[in-house]
């Protein structure tokens, strides 16, 4: 029985989502892979796009595209309005105080590099410390290593338990050195699924006057994020993981900090006045958006946020949680399968190994069954080192996934065992 067929008889989840309607919004899901219905479970790497997003990008290019912020003609005015309209949608989505606090970048990676380069470069000195955690994606490790190399600062790492939970006593001990200039922590681990207690971690850092950057690449599509309630200094995420196009990222930053920070890149759009003697920079957010941005991509992100907001984000989280619980129970039935990351507070993905079978082989065999998963180190090699494995297999969920798709995953894993035994 195909997943779609099953849905026609059971269209609503316990959380009240109309899954058949949600799936119908995603043209890509209607295909077969190697003759089998596509079961797309690689959402933590990148999520598929609803028609509303594809249409918004297409409408921009076919209807009103022009460069923004400078044209006196109608198309430029319309493009500018749509681009700045998307900024307001991001502000509302994060509950930021002002659109001036929303910077568009290329990716979460670029957002973090912006902070490391601009904030880090202007405030971090030799002898200072940057605190990250052991479960960071490489994009929240390497920018800080580069900063440390440039400045002579030291990187400190909060360890985690075998269950995949940060050891907060160690975190507090690291904060107490008196030399920490910034904490950078992942909200939802892409390798383990752990939801870190970022609100508490921010409070602990603030009690010592230390600012905090939160890497929200994985969290925004799964958890409601309110940057004012969190009170973080910076929050970074990517469009392509929240149903928008790739090539667009967001950096939220508190206005006073962003105003005090020097520009990250120089060029057009980020200036007020240029002479060869002196350049005056533009106000926020333009100061950090040098060059013509990904105009249609940003507009596509706005459409993605509209699409997601039209579904209740709490219902999305409940549905994904139910899928994760179901998948976890099913996976644990398979002899020799170990799940990496069993934190009490967990979302959206199951990473695992299967005794005697390399994750890469699992990935290839599952692909032939139509099931797309990720196999590898997930750009989190220190996490792999913690568990002493070169790689894991990872199934990750989005709002459009179904219990039937979890069944297809589990059935395909039994085939892997059959082939290798």
């Amino acid at each position: 029985m195909s997943a779609l067929h099953a849905l026609s008889t059971a269209p609503a989840t316990r959380a009240g989502l109309d899954l058949a309607r949600i799936r119908a919004d995603f043209p890509i899901l209607r295909q077969r892979i190697h003759g089998k219905p596509l079961v797309y479970l690689d959402n933590a790497a990148s999520v598929q796009k609803p028609k509303a997003v594809i249409d918004a990008i297409s409408e921009c290019y076919s209807g009103y595209y022009a460069n923004i912020h400078r044209g006196v003609h109608l198309l430029s005015e319309r493009s500018t309005a749509a681009y700045e309209g998307a900024r307001e949608k991001v502000r509302a989505f994060l509950n930021a105080a002002s659109v001036q606090e929303i910077i568009f970048t290329r990716s979460t990676t670029e957002s973090i590099n912006l902070v490391a380069s601009s904030f880090g470069g202007s405030t971090v000195k030799a002898g200072d410390e940057i605190v990250i955690t052991g479960m960071e994606h490489h994009s929240n490790i390497v920018p800080w290593q580069l900063l440390c190399e440039r400045t002579g600062a030291t990187l400190k790492v909060v360890p985690f338990t075998d269950a995949g939970e940060l050891i907060l006593d160690e975190y507090e001990r690291l904060l107490a050195s008196g030399r920490v200039k910034l904490v950078a922590v992942v909200h939802l681990s892409n390798a383990l699924g752990t939801i870190n207690p970022v609100k508490l971690m921010i409070e602990l850092a603030h009690s010592r006057g230390i600012p905090v950057l939160v890497d929200g690449a994985q969290s925004v599509p799964h958890l409601a994020v309110d940057v004012r309630a969190l009170d973080c200094e910076f929050y970074a995420f990517s469009s392509h993981k929240i149903y928008g196009p790739s090539g667009v990222g967001v950096l939220y930053g508190k206005q006073a900090l962003l105003e005090a920070m020097p520009p990250y890149q120089g060029g057009g759009d980020m200036i007020r006045l240029v002479t060869f003697e002196k350049t005056e920079y533009a106000d926020l957010p333009n100061k950090f958006e040098a060059g013509t941005p990904n105009i249609a991509g940003v507009i596509g992100l706005g459409a993605a946020l509209d699409w997601l907001s039209a579904i209740d984000l709490d219902a999305v989280a409940a549905h994904e949680h139910e899928l994760l619980d179901y998948a976890t129970a099913q996976l644990q039935e398979i002899p020799g399968l170990s799940i990496m990351g069993t934190a009490r507070d967990k979302a959206a993905l199951a990473a695992f190994t299967l005794q005697g079978v390399h994750p890469h082989d699992i990935g290839t065999i599952l692909d032939r069954e139509g099931v797309a998963i990720r196999a590898g180190h997930h750009c989190a090699q220190p996490v792999m080192q913690h568990y002493g494995v070169p790689a894991t297999a990872r199934a990750s969920f989005a709002v459009y996934n179904t219990r039937d798709e979890v069944d297809a995953l589990v059935k395909a894993l039994w085939k892997v065992k059959e082939l290798f035994e």
Partner: protein, 147 residues
């Protein structure tokens, strides 16, 4: 399942489970490490070369079934061969895993890896050990990467 059997042939599954020459040569004349950045796999190859002939060859490391079996089969294929035949064998093997060519007879058991040609993302797994051997023969110090 049939098409998967073309990739995961019995010989490959056997060499994955019981890799041949899976050991360290304590004082090799040549050695090198290979890494596959895509999946984090690492392999070390050791060679003992005398008078231009590969007297002994072994490997260690962790990898997928394709890379482990390929390394194991490679050690069997190269032992006793003159060093100057390695390049020729590698070329023939590379052709077999990347093109639709007929398998040349001289490849022997290595031809069981021909199924890899239908899985472009796995070619790097099949060639990792070979890249490491070439690096060892060239006495390269840095680990060789497949990308």
């Amino acid at each position: 399942m049939n098409d998967l059997r073309d990739l995961y042939q019995e010989v490959i599954l056997d060499h994955n489970k019981r890799p041949r020459n899976f050991r360290i040569i304590p004082q090799p004349t040549h050695r090198a490490d290979g890494v596959n950045p895509l999946c984090g796999d690492r392999i070390s190859v050791f060679l003992d070369i005398e008078d231009g002939v590969i007297k002994d060859i072994a490997f260690q490391g962790a990898g997928c079934a394709i890379s482990s079996a390929s390394a194991s089969l490679m050690t069997e294929a190269l032992r006793g061969k003159p060093v100057n035949e390695v390049e020729h064998l590698f070329e023939a093997f590379h052709n077999v895993v990347t093109t639709d060519c007929e398998c040349p007879k001289g490849l022997g058991k290595l031809s069981v890896l021909a199924g890899v040609r239908d899985y472009p993302s796995r070619v790097k797994c099949a060639t990792l050990a070979w890249h490491a051997v070439r690096a060892a023969l060239e006495k390269r110090k840095e680990p060789v990467a497949t990308e």
